[in-house]
Symmetry: C2
Subunit: 475 residues, 2 copies
C-alpha cells in the first residue's frame, strides 16, 4: 500500500485546531433539540437558549474517547469492514432525489432505481458497501420510505449498509431492523452493524432531525459519520482555511455530543465542504478546492485519532461526460491518496449531489477500481525484477512469450471493466463513448445479478416488522 | 505549494538502482550509432559490437554531472521556465499522426492542425510551453517538416518550445534556427533555448536517429528529455518493478552519454513506461499502472538529482468522453502530486499517443488548471480564518454579502473555463456535454487569438534560413 500523503504541516493543523477551539468557546454552536441541550448542561457547558459554548478541554477530552478504528459488521462476515487506519471503503452516492438518464433527461427517482443501485453495488468488486439512501425513492410514502430503503439493502446484498438519520424515531426503526437481522440489540451494541450520516447545518448549527438520529445511534452503540458541508463563500468564509475551521468546529461539536451520550461511540469525521459558484450561488463540488478540503480533512481526522469521511466521485456535470470523468477522478484520487477511510458518494453522483445516473455509477465503479490499484503501489519482490529473464531476452527482444509474463501480468495489471483499449478500427465498429458503454454495462450486470441468500426466518422477522411499522406509521 | 509525495521507500529506490547497475554492467545497452560507440570507448567502457557495458562508478559519476535544475529560455523572457525543483511545466501532446474529430472520425493531421494547436497552447493560461511535434503534419514533405514545425512555434507564440530529434542533421537545423532567434549559438549555449525528446528503443537499445540528435543537442549545450517507454509485458517484464529497472537502465545510459559529450548538459529523466493490454498486445497508457511508473520515476529522478518528465493527460480513449476525462485526470494528478517537472502530453492526446483531438485539448487544459490549483494548497494566513466575520455572521447566517467574501473568492476559487456549474435547467437549454462545449471553445479561442509580435528582422532571418534549407533538402 502507498503511504498516506499529508498536505498540511503540523503548524497548519494546530492553527486550524486553535481557531476551532476559539469558535467553540466564543461563538458556540446552536443545537435545536432539547435533549441535546440537556446533555451539554449535564456536562456543565455554558448554554444560552439553543446556543452552547463548548470549553476547549472538554471537547478535547470527549473527542479523545472516540475509537481510532472500529469494525462494521455485515450479515456475511466476509464483508465486515474495518473503518479507520489504512483502510478505504467505497460505496454509492447518497440522497439524490433525481435520476438523469444516459441522454441527460431528468426524472424523479423511484424504488426500482433504489433496488437497482443496491444490486449494482452488491455486484461491484470495487465498492465495499451498498451505502444508504442511494436515491430518494419518491414513489414511496415518505413516512415508511426508510423501512423500504433499508429492506432493499438487507435482501439485495450481504455487504454493510447504512441506516436512516431522519430523526429519532426513524433511526430507532433502523436499529430495530438491524437487531432482527443480527440477533438482537445487545449483539449489535457489541458489534456495530449500522452506520448513519449526521449532517450539521452550516454555519454552526444542528437541527432536531439530525440530533435525534445522533442520539438514537449513540444510545444503541451504532456508528455514525458526523459531517459538515461548508459552502465556502456562502455558508462559510470565502477562504479555504476559514471554511475548514467552521467545518472542524461543527464536526467536533457533534463528536463531543456522541461521546457524552455513550463514550466510545464509533464516529467518523466527515467533510463534504466545497465552494460556492459565485456566478449562480449554487454549490460546486467537482473541483480542486473541494479536493483540498477532503485532503485536509483526512489529516485533521488523523490528528484527532478518528476515521475520516470525504470525497467521492464528485461532479457538477449533468451527464456522464468528460467533465463527470475528470471531476470524479480528481476528487476520488485526492480522497484516496491522502487517507480518507470512508467514501460516501463514490459512485453515481451527478450535479452536486442532486442526481444519480446509472451510467455514471458504472464509470465511477471503474474509477474506484483504478484508484484501488494505484493505492496498491509497486511490488518490489526480487522475483518482480526478472533479471534472468531480461538477460535472456536481451536488447531488442520481447517478453510476450515468457513464463514470467504469463504468470505476472494477471497479478500486476488491473483488468478494465469499462475502459476501451482497442485499436481505432476495433473501437469504431460500434463507436460507443463511455456513457453508452456504461449504459449497456449496468443492464448486463443487473440482468446477471443474483442476490445472496437470506435466511427465510430472518427475512420473515424483518418483513413482519416492516408490515407492523407501516400500519402504525400510515394510520 | 503542496509537498511532493513519495511513493517509494529509500530501500525500494536502492533496489531499483542496484538492479539497474547490474543490468548496465552485465547485460549492457546497444547503441546503433558509431559516434556514440566511440565516445564510450574513449571513456574506457567495454564494447562488443554495438553492445556497451557500463561500469557502475562511471555511470554514477557521469549522472552526477547533470544539473539538478536549469532555465529554458523563451523569446519573451517572461515565459522563461525553470526545469527542476518544485516547478511543473505543462505542454501539448507530442507526435500523433492522426486527428480525431469531435464525433470520433479519424483523419491524417495537417500543418493547419499543427498551427492551431500551437496557438491554443499559446493562448492557454495553464500550459507553459507550446511543446514540439504537436502533431505529425502529413501534408508537409517529411524532409522539410521539422523546419515548418519549428517555425510555427516561433511565430505563433512567445513561449518555450521543443526542437527536432530526428537525427543529427535535423537537430542541427533546429539549433541553427534557435540561434537566429536568440542571437547566436554562443548565446544559446549559455542560455539553453531548445529542448528535444530522445527516446530509447526498449528493451535496452538506442537507434542512430535518436543518438544523432542527442549528440547534436549535447554539443550545442541544449537541453533534452531522455525518456524510456517500457511496455511492461512486451518490451519489458510484466511486473512494474522489473520494467522500472529496464527504464532506469536506459535513461541512465542516455544521460551518461550526454554528460560524456558535454558535462553539465541539461537533461531531464523521462518516463512514459506503461503496460501492454494483453488481450490485444497494444500499448495502454490511461491506467493506474502507468500512473505508478510516473510517480516512481519522479522519485528516481529526485534520487539522481535531475528534473523529471512523465505523465500527462494520458488515455486509451478514441473520443473526448468520460474515459478520456478520468484517465487523463488520473495520470496528470499522479504526475503532478508526486513531483514530475516536465509534462509532455498534458493536452490533447487520445488513443495511447496515436491521435490528437482539439476537444480533448480543451478538456485537458481545464484538467491542467484544476491540478495547478490543487498543487497550490491552502493559504493559512490569519486573515483567511475570518474569525471576526464568522462571529458577526453567527450560527445560521451567511457570508454572501461580506467584504471578506468579495475580496477572497477571486483569490481562493479557481474560475472554470469549460466545466458546467449551472442548474439543471440552465444546462438543459443547450444540453451540451463536455466534448461539444470543448468543440465550441477551441473555435472561440482560435478566432480571438493574436500571436505575439515577432521582430520583422528576426523573422526574415528565420524565413531565409528555412528557404535556403528547404531548397537544399528538396534537391
Amino acid at each position: 500500500m502507498l503511504p498516506k500523503f499529508d498536505i498540511l504541516t503540523p503548524e497548519q493543523i494546530k492553527s486550524v485546531h486553535d481557531q476551532t477551539m476559539r469558535i467553540l468557546e466564543e461563538i458556540g454552536i446552536e443545537f435545536s433539540y432539547e435533549p441535546a441541550i440537556e446533555v451539554f448542561k449535564s456536562f456543565s457547558q455554558k448554554v444560552e437558549g439553543h446556543r452552547v459554548y463548548l470549553k476547549r478541554e472538554f471537547v478535547e477530552e470527549m473527542v479523545n474517547k472516540a475509537p481510532s478504528k472500529f469494525t462494521l459488521h455485515a450479515r456475511n462476515p466476509e464483508n465486515n469492514l474495518i473503518c479507520g487506519g489504512e483502510n478505504i471503503i467505497f460505496m454509492p452516492g447518497y440522497g439524490a432525489p433525481f435520476i438523469h438518464e444516459s441522454d441527460g433527461t431528468k426524472r424523479n427517482a423511484t424504488m426500482e432505481d433504489y433496488n437497482n443501485i443496491v444490486k449494482l453495488a452488491g455486484a461491484s468488486k470495487n465498492l465495499h458497501m451498498t451505502g444508504g439512501n442511494v436515491v430518494e425513492p419518491t414513489d414511496i410514502d415518505d413516512r415508511i420510505r426508510h423501512l423500504k430503503m433499508m429492506y432493499s439493502h438487507i435482501v439485495n446484498s450481504d455487504k454493510c449498509f447504512m441506516g436512516s438519520a431522519s430523526g429519532y424515531e426513524k433511526a430507532k426503526d433502523s436499529i430495530e431492523m438491524a437487531a432482527l437481522l443480527f440477533g438482537g440489540k445487545e449483539v449489535i451494541k457489541e458489534k456495530p452493524a449500522l452506520i448513519c450520516l449526521i449532517n450539521s447545518v452550516t454555519p454552526l448549527k444542528y437541527d432536531d432531525r439530525m440530533l435525534g438520529a445522533l442520539m438514537a445511534y449513540a444510545e444503541a452503540g451504532q456508528a455514525m459519520v458526523i459531517a459538515s458541508l461548508v459552502m465556502s463563500g456562502s455558508t462559510g468564509p470565502a477562504a479555504l482555511a476559514g471554511a475548514l475551521a467552521v467545518q472542524n468546529a461543527e464536526v467536533l461539536a457533534g463528536i463531543t455530543l456522541a461521546q457524552c451520550i455513550h463514550p466510545g461511540t464509533p464516529v467518523i469525521y466527515g467533510s463534504t465542504s466545497a465552494i460556492t459558484d459565485m456566478a449562480t450561488g449554487s454549490l460546486s463540488i467537482g473541483n480542486p478546492e473541494c479536493a483540498l478540503f477532503t485532503s485536509a480533512s483526512a489529516q485533521m481526522a488523523r490528528f484527532y485519532g478518528v476515521p475520516s469521511r470525504g470525497g467521492g466521485g464528485l461532479t457538477d456535470a449533468k451527464i456522464a461526460d468528460g467533465q463527470a470523468g475528470y471531476e470524479s477522478m480528481m476528487t476520488l484520487m485526492a480522497a484516496s491518496t491522502t487517507g480518507i477511510n470512508f467514501v460516501l458518494h463514490t459512485a453515481g453522483i451527478l450535479q452536486y449531489f442532486m442526481a444519480m445516473s446509472l451510467e455514471k455509477f458504472m464509470i465511477d465503479d471503474e474509477i474506484a477500481g483504478m484508484v484501488l490499484r494505484y493505492l496498491q503501489g509497486i511490488d518490489f519482490d526480487e522475483e518482480k525484477f526478472a533479471f534472468d529473464v531480461l538477460k535472456q531476452v536481451g536488447p531488442g527482444g520481447h517478453f510476450l512469450t515468457q513464463k514470467h509474463t504469463k504468470k505476472n501480468h494477471k497479478i500486476e495489471f488491473r483488468r478494465t471493466d469499462l475502459s476501451d483499449r482497442q485499436s481505432y478500427d476495433g473501437w469504431s465498429k460500434e463507436g460507443l463513448d463511455a456513457n453508452k458503454r456504461a449504459n449497456k454495462r449496468w443492464q448486463d450486470v443487473l440482468a446477471n445479478y443474483v442476490p445472496p441468500e437470506l435466511d427465510p426466518q430472518v427475512n420473515q422477522l424483518v418483513e413482519d416488522f416492516i408490515e407492523m411499522k407501516s400500519k402504525e406509521l400510515l394510520k
